[in-house]
């Protein structure tokens, strides 16, 4: 994926790679919140695994792991893309679709379909 979205490495304009990394990672992190919520709802063993802080239950683990995943993906993508200019149209579409999907999948009647 990294090879076919790169437009150029050098430009007089500030490279957009760091922005692209942040945008795509946010989409992935958001989807992770929804996926982990569905997984914990479907499996009691996954639910138990996500109980990091008992008073809050599985929500503590679902959100902590999703945030950790988001920040890790962001750091890796930023390291890869920071000095490059990326074709942002596709990144934007993917990130905004992932964000939109997360909004829908966190809606319990839709999450329950899985």
């Amino acid at each position: 994926m990294t090879t076919d979205v790169i437009v150029s490495r050098d430009s007089s304009v500030m490279p957009n790679g760091s922005g692209a990394a942040a945008i795509l990672s946010a989409g992935i992190g958001s989807l992770a919140v929804a996926v982990f919520a569905i997984a914990a709802d479907k499996s009691s063993s996954v639910k138990n695994l996500f109980v990091f802080y008992k008073p809050t239950g599985a929500l503590s683990g679902e959100t902590s792991v999703a945030v950790l995943l988001w920040l890790t993906v962001w750091a890796i993508l930023n390291w890869q893309w920071r000095s490059r200019s990326i074709s942002l149209t596709r990144i934007n579409v993917i990130a905004l679709v992932l964000l939109g999907l997360s909004v829908l999948l966190t809606f319990p009647p839709l999450g329950d379909l899985f």
Binding site: A22, A34, L59, L99
Partner: protein
């Protein structure tokens, strides 16, 4: 005039951080439109770019404060399990909602959606703030980055609106209320 500690924290979470975020969100949409629309004045001063970054960073701080207080301070009170045989469920909002067919869905849909969708808000707005600060003046040269910032602000506002709506409705149907009483004004 008095308030309990649990009500106080609910107030801080919802009316403080959450409502302020929603107000700031509509301001951010107007700010972005004013700064980057086709009618925007050319050659805006650098302060306006700096202000946009600070504004979105403040929104990000509000979003994190809202979800962290909600998840780790208020939610444990909300989901507390009543001891066996408890008849009065007022101190156990989730159990109270689940005990009546008319209010069950406020928990099963309302709280279940709210507790997860709320976490999309700080993720989206943190990234919008990062892009605004990182690119500042150069954001004018990156139309696609501007589209992403707009999109993230609007989706974060939508998610915060859904979480806020259910927060208010849940608090109307089964308020989190308990703990020590704080006397605000005492009659002589």
């Amino acid at each position: 005039m008095e308030i309990t500690t649990q009500s106080f924290w609910t107030l801080i979470h919802g009316m403080g951080f959450g409502a302020l975020y929603l107000l700031a969100g509509s301001g951010a949409v107007a700010l972005l439109y004013g700064r980057f629309s086709a009618d925007a004045p050319v050659g805006a001063p650098p302060q306006s770019d700096r202000f946009l970054g600070i504004y979105l960073a403040t929104m990000a701080a509000l979003a994190w404060l809202t979800v962290l207080t909600g998840t780790y301070i208020i939610y444990p009170w909300y989901r507390a399990t009543p001891p066996n045989g408890t008849v009065n469920l007022e101190a156990f909002p989730r159990a109270l909602l689940l005990s009546h067919p008319a209010t069950r869905q406020w928990h099963l849909i309302g709280m279940e959606w709210k507790e997860h969708i709320a976490w999309l808000v700080p993720i989206a707005i943190t990234v919008a703030a990062y892009v605004a600060i990182k690119y500042a003046r150069d954001l004018g040269n990156h139309p696609q980055l501007r589209i992403a910032v707009h999109g993230f602000v609007i989706i974060s506002l939508l998610a915060a609106g859904i979480a806020g709506f259910f927060g208010v409705m849940l608090d109307k149907n089964a308020p989190v209320n308990g703990g020590q009483t704080i006397h605000l004004v005492q009659e002589e």
